[in-house]
């Protein structure tokens, strides 16, 4: 599997580590439902069979955290971008697979 790092170019996946679901957003710790929101954030996953947005860390290269869109049935990668560049608008409204 090769991940097209937006900085380094395509690299073998073994240079990266995967952290999983990138659609999750760390909840507001001050919200009244923080306990259950954190439970969902830390533990529950959509785990889709199909396109999956996920976080990969390019530890063997530029040390960027990337948000990669990858199909979990075929491993085909359709997008990879810097996680830091996620616009705050996109964070909330992205449709979930």
């Amino acid at each position: 599997m090769r991940i097209p790092c937006p900085y380094c170019g395509p690299r073998d996946a073994h240079e990266f580590t995967c952290l999983g679901d990138a659609t999750l957003t760390r909840p507001d710790p001050a919200a009244p439902d923080a306990a259950s929101a954190f439970h969902d954030y830390v533990y529950r996953r959509d785990n889709p069979a199909g396109p999956h947005r996920e976080l990969w860390y390019h530890g063997g290269g530029c040390r960027s955290w990337l948000e990669v869109t990858r199909d979990t049935r075929t491993h085909a990668i359709t997008d990879a971008r810097f996680a830091a560049d996620r616009s705050s608008a996109a964070q909330g409204t992205e449709d979930r697979p």
Partner: protein, 416 residues
Amino acid sequence: MRYSFLSLLANAVSGQRLWTPAWRDAAPKPSYDAVIVGGGGHGLATAYYLAKEHGLHNIAVLEKGWIGSGNAGRNTTIIRSNYGLPGNIPFYEWSMTLWEGLERDLNYNTMVSQRGILNLYHSDPQRDAYARRGNAMRLHGVDAELLDREQVRAMLPFLNFDNARFPIQGGLLQRRAGTARHDGVVWGYARAASRLGVDIVQNCAVTGFLRDGERIVGVETSRGPIHAPKVGLAVAGHSSHVAHMAGLRLPIESHVLQAFVSEGIKPLIPNVITFGAGHFYISQSDKGGLVFGGDIDGYNSYAQRGNLPVVEDVCEGGMALMPRIGRLRLLRGWGGVMDMSMDGSPIIDRTPIPGLYLNAGWCYGGFKATPASGWCFAHAIARDEPHPAAAAFRLDRFATGHLIDEKGVGAQPNLH
């Protein structure tokens, strides 16, 4: 036909014509008292114990492909009860006990082979962690021994003791552990369940749930709707997917684990060995192939196959541990899609949805659990209460914080 030496003999003289199907390949009925989704080891064992222990005979196991096509048919066959946490030990030990009587119970040779498992350690902290675990086992009445380097050398002289990056210091040995013939377990349970009247329905994928308000009252399948007041899920790597059809979001990710077999050779490896300084474990099948594996690939996958870096990583471990296997050839590699739960331990529980029961999250270790998982899941379905041996495997433990995290790596499934 009951299997015995006599039946073999009778067939030998009849030209093998007397055999009958090991299990009935049933067509689905419109309704059952309970259906189990998933014809892997766990689903079939659940059905068997539901029939045998709880008297439920009007039940079906629904399998989307052929039985045993999932992880039951692709695991490295290790059975053991060398766990360290109180939530786990009694359960796996109960499984071990059931393994020890399985062949006679099922009248099927599942080739349970108590050849022992040796977990090697390579540092003092690792020894201490094994000591903690081994002592916990002993307190639960489970056999365990701590070997030092020389004892390991005497047992397995062919390991790399003298030129190692991480020298072997000793190992934790469970002699009662070993292997069982994975496919045989599936077929043995299927045959035994079928004989008790269970319908085993292959090529029948569950595609949705029948609901009566909140309650689940059956399933939609590729072969039509099937009604049942109780539905048990035992779909291993696909738990999230199937539970999602019922509106449940689980603390599970699906990951792929690869395994490998070498060309067949004369006996070389007497037991099960795990490397403590790399991702590698190995045993030898009765057919002669070295069966080995290592770490999971590390990313969500439903592809039932893996990639090259893990093949390399596993073989690097193999060569570091036993460099005499260098000229043996890797014959075949494959992958299985597993439920990696968020604390590395399974779930056997009712769900918040009435009528729906869940058996999931077995990670890479559910083969050994097959008998007890079936036993305890049958109990939960039949009696609507957890079996004491599986009482810790609750779905709400992530919310309450009563985690069962043997490795202590936290909510990161690809590290368990």
